[in-house]
């Protein structure tokens, strides 16, 4: 139930069996079925989720009701509306399951207690956030500076498993493109070869 969570944790900070048992007390195992919401816009994001199994996406709705995908999470990734989680303000993101999921939730209360009581957890969170920030930096740079074909190739290289698993129209939305544009970009790339 917690296998992948602790494997990923140990990659960042090694835990003893006792420390794993200590962290485990604070974790909430939760199943979510395809199309069910983990979070809806307007609610406070009370937990962040780690994906043991399955896939989720986060999206925002614009004024016309169109979806714009802001993030994905596959096995081993962590997802939540961070702003809402930290500030306890209503979320602007919606998060739902693309596949049946097995999640490990960390509530704000559990997160705060672990931060205070366990230096190794603080290290884990620091590394998790640093990784997330670096990914965001790369993604933002690609989005504003690369021509479309190069952007597609760069994203594909950055998230290879995502591109294999997630439907193309969602990848398009994640890259800020229409499905038609993405399809043209892909055919231009394959014509190059």
């Amino acid at each position: 139930m917690y296998d992948l969570f602790f494997r990923k944790f140990n990659e960042k900070v090694a835990l003893t069996a006792e420390e794993e048992a200590f962290v485990k007390q604070y974790l909430t195992p939760k199943k979510l079925r395809r199309k069910q919401y983990f979070l809806q816009e307007g609610d406070v994001c009370k937990s962040i989720c780690f994906v043991e199994k399955g896939a989720l996406r986060a999206y925002v709705l614009d004024e016309t009701g169109d979806e714009h995908i802001t993030a994905f999470a596959l096995e081993g990734w962590t997802l939540g509306d961070l702003y809402s989680f930290i500030k306890a303000e209503p979320a602007t993101w919606n998060i739902d399951a693309l596949e049946d999921c097995e999640l490990i939730l960390l509530s704000k209360q559990a997160h705060d207690e672990l931060l205070q009581t366990m230096p190794k957890y603080e290290t884990y969170i620091r590394l998790l956030m640093t990784d997330a920030y670096m990914a965001l930096q790369r993604r933002t740079t690609y989005m504003i500076s690369l021509p479309l074909e190069e952007r597609y190739l760069a994203f594909n290289q950055m998230y290879p498993t995502l591109f294999q698993r997630i439907p193309q129209h969602m990848i398009a939305s994640f890259m800020g493109l229409s499905a038609e544009t993405l399809s043209r970009v892909r055919s231009r790339i394959s014509n190059r070869k």
């Binding site: 007390q25 974790l27 195992p29 199943k31 307007g42 609610d43 509530s107 559990a110």
Partner: protein, 220 residues
């Protein structure tokens, strides 16, 4: 709150379980129902959906799976049956709210089987040390869920628990089904709450309240 919560009701086909399930099915919550006899659970689900086709309610075949998928777990079981179920759900109930509605009554309903320095809720908390046990609905009769107003007054449901957020969540559930939530205090208050249920049962039998009765704190 617009994100639907999932509530697992374990022991859903008993008087209390089905009363609560029917009430909760009218709220913005998704219900997963489990009881020992699958056919009874299925007919309860059909019954609920007949009255309210929009209700999100489903029969589950395993209490562990139901609790794994749930945000909140409600044990609508006799006190004596809680130990066995607790062992089955312990791991998946980690950090979750577990609502204890049971009253540890003796066979003749004349007393409690627990010693005065503890309660059914505290026993459950010991069995599920990493869950947030909340005592609620134990002072409410099964028939009251269908009609939460008696003699023009809204029935109170007294609530006890150690975690403030969980008390808020359970109070909101009580409100959603038409009861007036009244937080008594931390979990040891369950001793008093369980004795209040015993007293209400005694009064009901003595004065023939026909199992439609409840507690109401009058105040200014």
């Amino acid at each position: 709150m617009s994100t639907k919560q999932t509530i697992a009701i374990i022991g859903a086909t008993g008087n209390m379980g089905s009363g609560i399930a029917k009430s909760l099915s009218k709220t913005n919550n998704r219900l997963l129902l489990f009881a020992q006899h699958t056919d009874k659970v299925k007919s309860l689900v059909e019954d609920i959906k007949k009255g309210n086709p929009a209700a999100e309610v489903e029969a589950m075949e395993c209490p562990t799976n139901a609790s794994w998928e749930a945000d909140i777990i409600l044990l609508a079981l006799p006190y004596a049956a809680e130990k066995e179920i607790a062992a089955k759900i312990k791991e998946v109930a980690n950090q979750k709210i577990v609502i204890s509605i049971s009253n540890p009554l003796n066979e003749t309903y004349s007393g409690l089987v627990t010693s005065p320095d503890t309660s059914a809720a505290e026993h459950l908390q010991q069995l599920l040390p990493n869950s947030k046990v909340v005592k609620a609905f134990n002072t409410v009769f099964a028939a009251d869920f269908a009609n939460t107003i008696i003699d023009g007054k809204q029935i109170d449901t007294l609530i006890a628990g150690n975690d403030a957020q969980s008390l808020d969540t359970v109070s909101a559930l009580a409100k959603a089904i038409g009861l007036n939530p009244l937080v008594a205090g931390e979990l040891p208050w369950s001793r008093t709450l369980e004795n209040m249920a015993l007293l209400l049962i005694q009064l009901t039998m003595k004065y023939n309240y026909n199992w439609v009765a409840g507690w109401k704190v009058l105040h200014n």
